[in-house]
Symmetry: C2
Amino acid sequence: MAKRIGKRTIIFENSPKIAGYYSVVGKKEGEGPIGDGFHEVCEDELLGFDSFERAESELQRRAVLGALDAAKTKPQNIDCIFAGDLLNQCIGSSFGIGDLEIPFSGLYGACSTMALALINAAVHIDGGAAKEAIAVTSSHFCSAERQYRFPLEYGSQRPQSAQWTVTGSGSAVLTAKRGDIAVHSACIGRICDLGVKDQNNMGAAMAPAAYDTVRAYLEDTETKPDDYDMILTGDLGLVGSSMFCSLFARDGVDITRVHRDCGLLIFDRERQDVHSGGSGCGCSASVLCSNILNRMNGGELKNILFCATGALLSPTSVLQGNSIPSIAHLINLRRQDRI
Amino acid sequence: MAKRIGKRTIIFENSPKIAGYYSVVGKKEGEGPIGDGFHEVCEDELLGFDSFERAESELQRRAVLGALDAAKTKPQNIDCIFAGDLLNQCIGSSFGIGDLEIPFSGLYGACSTMALALINAAVHIDGGAAKEAIAVTSSHFCSAERQYRFPLEYGSQRPQSAQWTVTGSGSAVLTAKRGDIAVHSACIGRICDLGVKDQNNMGAAMAPAAYDTVRAYLEDTETKPDDYDMILTGDLGLVGSSMFCSLFARDGVDITRVHRDCGLLIFDRERQDVHSGGSGCGCSASVLCSNILNRMNGGELKNILFCATGALLSPTSVLQGNSIPSIAHLINLRRQDRI
């Protein structure tokens, strides 16, 4: 059974464990600062398929199969897969993992989806509704550019506040028993909308949502940033990260020492021309399911907050002049020997 | 705690209850055979807004506020809202319920979303992760036609196998304690894809998914169709319903006596020119949260299976020549005095 503390925090009394994880990314991500940690780097952006959308589906399929292998389990043992992506109607997921015949709970949280998937998987396991579950999400630079911005062939210029969608997928298998890293607790985000309308500055739109969720979790658990080895946001990028830290500074809280952002970790901004940093569902998923979980397994990180951030806009909502509602979901991951 | 029986069925030992529900629909739905049961019928298809998308968001907002009232609770008491819709990036939900400041778990299950939302809400409540939760989804004929088919102004003709997207929303508040109707058990669907490529025959694409889920649930629970007062599918329509019953007939099982379909209940096919019947996330949600739950409250129905069906296609996947993956999620609703 889970229990609730404070206003919004869920404590998992049965502590679901991460039994295995896997990440697969594109060439550019593989050349970045944490490229060595990914399990698989695909040189061909189409992965042998004839569309970017099918290539993105293939990323998810490979991530799930890799995580199943790592967890020494198989599709038949999985009670539910929690998956979603950025593509219209989430076709990255439905065409990627459909043939595995695993009960499927589709999610939509934009770039916050990995945290949302992990939370829902943990709730199902903790409450007995599942014995083994999977979380997975993906993004692909080319499918996202076409859908959200312009066809690649236009060669559009973007402002410095824009981010670069990660080509990648990350997946984790959660179980009731096996694994050294536990999902200790979680906080489900609320939609925040402070009126930002610039789709080339999604970090600014998402920063208040990340602040809202992290602050709620810290209050509910009566902890402070320095109690954690890392507070990892999803894809705020340079602009959003700066705003996120400023919002805490306004409260007299210095979060800069422990704050890191997946969008800043995955690319070298100087060398890789990604403007404000990486973004996309696959950004936080692939960074978590490689560098971060590797460092937790190695003992360097023992207690972290993973707070993935999502901008809930659509090209239609932007064209209609609406602002960008955002959300951030959080989980607390702990190495078991710390508890 | 939940427990699992058979291969895919979840039994909720704490039996989350439906504490309140509400439905809001468009003019055409209000004129249909079950029009009297809806809580609110909107004569203006724009609901006073300047786009069909914002009108759809307003449907969700009204449904949620109505369900909160019916359950005698308020947004601050709700631990999580499970919501989704058919629009790209689920903007029906994010613009509809964002300002309620309720923790938000976005879902994507196409027209199966209402069942998926109820299942996830029930899992969260049963396992202690939430005390009160909401399920909501919507669709709007005009926003769906524009996104999936053609702008209304084209006046496109559609074949007889096509369905008519319902303008409507349904919402239910689930709690741990209050309410006479309990969510007894559930079965999360798997993606089924038998190769149907005709987006004007989604009933045919979805029927195998509904069969797969209902059959799995009946096997796991060792029950037969006649053990239920009704087995209600989401939006198979005339073509899909016939296929669904045929698939059971092939197994020697007659499901026709108890089978009903929300897409056939909501419109009068002869009089309302809807071809194969109603469809859309809002179809099963609004029918469940009006006529069906009213009849359960009245004692006429005591034990039903609600199996909402979704076609996980996108306009892009169709244009790329892919078939239509489908899914169906199921919950068993029981009046408490029956247990």
